[in-house]
Amino acid sequence: MMQVGLTHFLVLGAILFVLGLLAVITKRNAVTVLMGVELIINAANINFIAFARYLDKDIDGQMFGVFVIVVAAAGAAVALAIVLNIYQRMRSVNLDEADSLAG
């Protein structure tokens, strides 16, 4: 094992991204898909912070990381509100059943 450097953090971010992608593609419960999306966003954020540390003299990457966290929080809130609304109408959060734009 070599000295931990930039590539180690990027590889960790890539593996987390792929795991989140797997959750988004294969799960059919809406809340679990949301969890996968949050994992993807965290993996991208690791990339930002790693670049800010290893390639940059300033902390612009960390500023972007703060904005990513905030926007992810807003997105998760709205998505969960939509999921709750779907549950109130259909009594189920199975994404395969939420396939009609009517009503």
């Binding site: 000295q3 931990v4 590539t7 180690h8 953090f9 590889v11 960790l12 890539a14 987390l16 991204f17 792929v18 795991l19 989140g20 992608l21 797997l22 959750a23 593609i25 294969t26 799960k27 059919r28 419960n29 809340v31 679990t32 949301l34 969890m35 996968g36 949050e38 994992l39 965290n42 954020n45 690791i46 912070i49 800010a52 540390r53 290893y54 390639l55 300033d58 902390i59 612009d60 960390q62 500023m63 990381g65 703060v66 904005f67 905030v70 926007v71 992810a72 929080a73 807003a74 998760a76 809130a77 709205v78 969960l80 509100a81 939509i82 999921v83 709750l84 609304n85 549950y87 109130q88």
Partner: protein
């Protein structure tokens, strides 16, 4: 093998194992707990990268906010008696192929790119710099994000309300 390397491998192992639990478990609360430890692990990674303020922000917002929201969403969208909490996975073979392909491309790209070697000193505290940057260079994004949060809050409260239709 310095203690920095050991810490990195320990935190990375925790994060990857929790993410694995999150993806492959069938019980939705186990998914949420896997996500909890994945967020912890990511906060630990931020500390290793010298982003102390961001690590505390990650804990406060992701674990104390988003995960609580997700747990409420789970608990309010299941029937309490006769628990229907299984989240089965479908079409696992095509998904595995696609994700394996994406992983291969990403890892090959990370391996092959000649990242520039920069000499970096020990990490220094970032709170003061972040605060100054928020008020000087990043003032407009700061204001826009505040308005975005307000819109998201009002929108979520409106969409999620219980109306008798």
């Amino acid at each position: 093998m310095t203690s920095f390397d050991v810490m990195f491998y320990v935190i990375a192992a925790i994060t990857l194992f929790s993410a694995g639990v999150m993806v492959f478990s069938k019980n939705i609360i186990y998914n949420a707990m896997g996500l909890l430890f994945a967020f912890f692990g990511v906060a630990g990674i931020y500390v290793m990268l010298g982003a102390d303020f961001l690590a505390a922000t990650q804990l406060l917002i992701y674990v104390g906010g988003i995960l609580v929201l997700l747990l409420f969403g789970v608990m309010l969208s299941q029937r309490i008696t006769g628990l229907e909490m299984r989240t089965d996975t479908l079409q696992i073979l095509p998904a595995a192929i696609v994700c394996g392909g994406v992983a291969a491309i990403l890892l090959w790209m990370i391996w092959k790119t000649p990242w520039p070697k920069a000499d970096i000193g020990p990490p220094e505290p970032t709170t003061r710099n972040i605060g100054t940057l928020f008020m000087t260079d990043y003032l407009i994004p700061f204001e826009i994000v505040s308005v975005l949060l307000l819109a998201a809050l009002v929108g979520a409260a409106f969409i999620g309300r219980r109306n008798a239709q």
